[in-house]
């Protein structure tokens, strides 16, 4: 029982960064833009958050600067892909390469180290005890006492779902994603809508990144995202166009990561659990496209 509680609580903790980024991926892909720069945005925001908080000792300033770095990166992505007609995949690859090396370069400039920013310890976002719920044995330990960003992530599932389904902005985003020409013909500015969607995805990815360096731990270390941006992309591909679907697939991936900590005792190799999200996604992509194909043949 205690093991189970521990497992679920850890699952929620490790799901947070994946879920936040996956929601970003969802918004971007709803507008028909594949944002594969999530990994780079997460990494760079994690870096900016940790360093700014280490230097200024201000939670608000570090949050703001981390989020703005994420917004600037997606802004560059939007500007190059929509205005300068660059291929969005290529531009995103550029951003990922920039983050992987750039964070180390700037880390070295600022702290003189290349491994981590542990020498200037950063602040950590506060945890939240939920009244009443934290009194319930078991459930209280699972749900209460998490980082404030974890609750924001859970809240965002509802918010993003509502935004996409029920607000004018969401309708425009989906219209642009479904059929660009039709959207344009009714006077929707495709470029504007896509830019907004990309910026929102950058916002969520940067929160996912900040959670890693200022929630999970209190420092930045090189390549600390270790593929979480790609897992988020996988979670979106698996969860489809619904925020709840994305939340479920993120949760499954979080659980598999959490299980990898406890499964070490069962002698299941760590590499296998690390590969799990990607294997499951490829399998699901095969199954989903197989179904689509059947329907396609049926219709014609």
């Amino acid at each position: 029982m205690a093991d189970m509680v521990d497992f679920l609580s850890t699952s929620l903790r490790v799901t947070t960064p994946i879920l936040l980024s996956a929601l970003g991926a969802l918004i971007a892909s709803s507008a028909g833009a594949t944002n594969i720069a999530l990994e780079g945005i997460m990494l760079f925001s994690a870096f900016v958050g940790a360093v700014v908080s280490g230097l200024t000792h201000s939670l608000i300033l570090s949050l703001l600067s981390a989020v703005s770095s994420g917004l600037i990166m997606t802004g560059i992505l939007a500007f190059f892909s929509l205005k300068l007609k660059a291929n969005i995949i290529m531009a995103a690859i550029a951003l990922n390469i920039f983050s992987s090396g750039g964070t180390i370069f700037f880390l070295n400039v600022i702290t003189g180290e290349k491994g981590s920013s542990a020498s200037i310890e950063s602040l950590v976002f506060p945890t939240l005890e939920i009244p009443l719920i934290n009194k319930i044995p078991g459930i209280g330990e699972i749900l209460s006492g998490h980082n404030i960003l974890t609750y924001f992530a859970l809240f965002s599932v509802i918010a993003v779902s509502f935004m996409l389904k029920r607000t004018p902005l969401g309708t425009k985003i989906r219209a642009v994603g479904e059929n660009k020409e039709a959207a344009e013909s009714v006077g929707i500015s495709v470029r504007k809508v896509k830019t907004v969607a990309l910026l929102l995805s950058g916002f969520y990815a940067s929160l996912g990144g900040v959670y890693l360096s200022m929630g999970y731990v209190s420092w930045f270390s090189r390549n600390m995202t270790s593929g979480r941006g790609w897992i988020a992309l996988a979670a979106q591909a698996l969860g489809g166009k619904s925020a709840y679907g994305v939340a479920i697939s993120s949760g499954v991936f979080g659980m598999s990561e959490s299980a990898s900590y406890s499964l070490k005792l069962l002698n299941i190799p760590g590499e296998l659990t690390q590969a799990f999200p990607f294997i499951i996604t490829v399998l699901m992509l095969i199954i989903v496209s197989f179904k689509k194909e059947r329907r396609f043949i049926g219709n014609s």
Binding site: A86, A94, S100, E271, A275, I286
Partner: protein
């Protein structure tokens, strides 16, 4: 005749754009090193500027010259060690550059070169350690296993695209991580060198190693393999019907379909060919230079291949100079990192700038913009 002329001008336009972009990136790197080198606390502003200026100059001198020259008592002389590193380093990048160029010219975004390269290296390692030690044939088999494994990894997203019309972007990206983790698992379980503390494979058999041109700096014959493959791809792309069909498919899929070219099959075959070339890249580095499998993380040659394909504009013959350039700045940056305070990771920033500006179609190539500028000028004169 006329059409040909126009095309030629376009190519030289592209080339000059690429050169300008590279210059911009180098300049940006220079400015970045200068700015981060400023010491805001100690001394006066001008003193600080002067020191940083000098340091940046020294760093850039090493960065841009070290693969070819070294200073021996202030007299530059040929740096053979640097040269060998440069050539060796360029081999995997040429191969992944060709692999990525191929899929890009078919108009698809298979970004799985990294995973194909990694799988090839893992598969080749098995052959290099377990296959009977027959001279020449063994080394040949090692590379062949690399080719097959790379192709196998490419086949998965390729079949999803071909048979099921699923997007190849996400599935090929996922394959990178699957290849990485499963590859590491296989090496660790079956071929791990128990004596060594770090995670690496046992040593390759001597017969699995590539022939060395220079023993001391381990200059292996990989560069000739890479040049050979480049020639082969150039020939396939430009002198065979298959290559012609491929280029038509990449240029306009609908047109290809109407003219009877099976475009989806072309796309499928191209991804397999691309995977087999990427599969060679990693194992050649291991069999030529290291002599064992020692990667605990993906070495990134696949992503270098994306840059090379972009800089080369997907033209096989231009892949050679493009890969040599990327490898040159890599080796130069590593040496710079050894002798100065500047960390070599700065080249990631330069590479990002290069990719962004080259893919930006509207950057320096915006004819309407240029026309507006031109037409705006006389108008202004009329105003004045």
């Amino acid at each position: 005749m006329k059409g040909r002329k126009v095309k030629k001008i376009n190519i030289s336009n592209e080339l000059s754009k690429t050169l300008i972009v590279i210059l911009i990136a180098l300049l940006a790197g220079y400015i970045l090193i200068f700015l981060t080198g400023l010491d805001w606390k100690g001394g006066g502003f001008f003193q600080s500027v002067r020191t940083s200026f000098q340091q940046t100059g020294e760093a850039y001198e090493i960065f841009l010259s070290s693969p070819l020259f070294k200073l021996n008592r202030a007299i530059p002389e040929f740096n053979f060690k640097g040269f060998v590193q440069w050539i060796n380093q360029s081999v995997p990048i040429i191969l992944t550059g060709l692999a990525v160029s191929l899929v890009f010219s078919a108009g698809i975004f298979n970004l799985g070169a990294e995973g194909q390269m990694f799988a090839g290296a893992v598969g080749g390692t098995f052959t290099a350690i377990l296959f009977p030690a027959i001279p020449v044939i063994h080394a040949f088999m090692v590379i062949l296993t690399g080719i097959i494994c790379g192709m196998a990894v490419a086949a998965i997203p390729a079949s999803i695209k071909y048979k099921l019309r699923g997007s190849e972007i996400v599935s090929s990206l996922m394959m990178n991580y699957i290849a990485l983790y499963i590859g590491l698992l296989l090496i660790r379980t079956f071929l791990r060198d128990e004596i060594s503390g770090a995670l690496m494979s046992r040593k390759f058999r001597e017969t699995a190693r590539l022939f060395l041109l220079n023993e001391r700096y381990k200059w292996h014959i990989g560069i000739f393999i890479a040049i050979g493959v480049t020639m082969l791809i150039w020939f396939i792309m430009n002198k065979t019907t298959w290559g012609y069909k491929l280029r038509v498919t990449g240029a306009n899929k609908t047109f290809a379909n109407y003219s009877g070219i099976p475009s989806t099959r072309m796309v499928f075959q191209t991804q397999l060919l691309s995977g087999s070339i990427a599969g060679m890249a990693g194992i050649i580095v291991l069999a030529g230079y290291h002599g064992r499998f020692l990667w605990v993380n993906s070495p990134g040659y696949g992503w270098d291949g994306v840059i090379v394909a972009l800089v080369a504009g997907q033209k096989p013959l231009l892949v050679l100079p493009a890969a040599l350039f990327i490898s040159y700045i890599r080796v130069g940056a590593t040496t710079m990192g050894r002798y100065t305070e500047v960390s070599p990771e700065i080249i990631a920033i330069l590479q990002a700038i290069i990719i962004l500006l080259i893919t930006a179609k509207a950057f320096l190539a915006n004819r309407p913009l240029m026309e507006t500028v031109r037409s705006a000028m006389p108008a202004r004169r009329e105003d004045g």
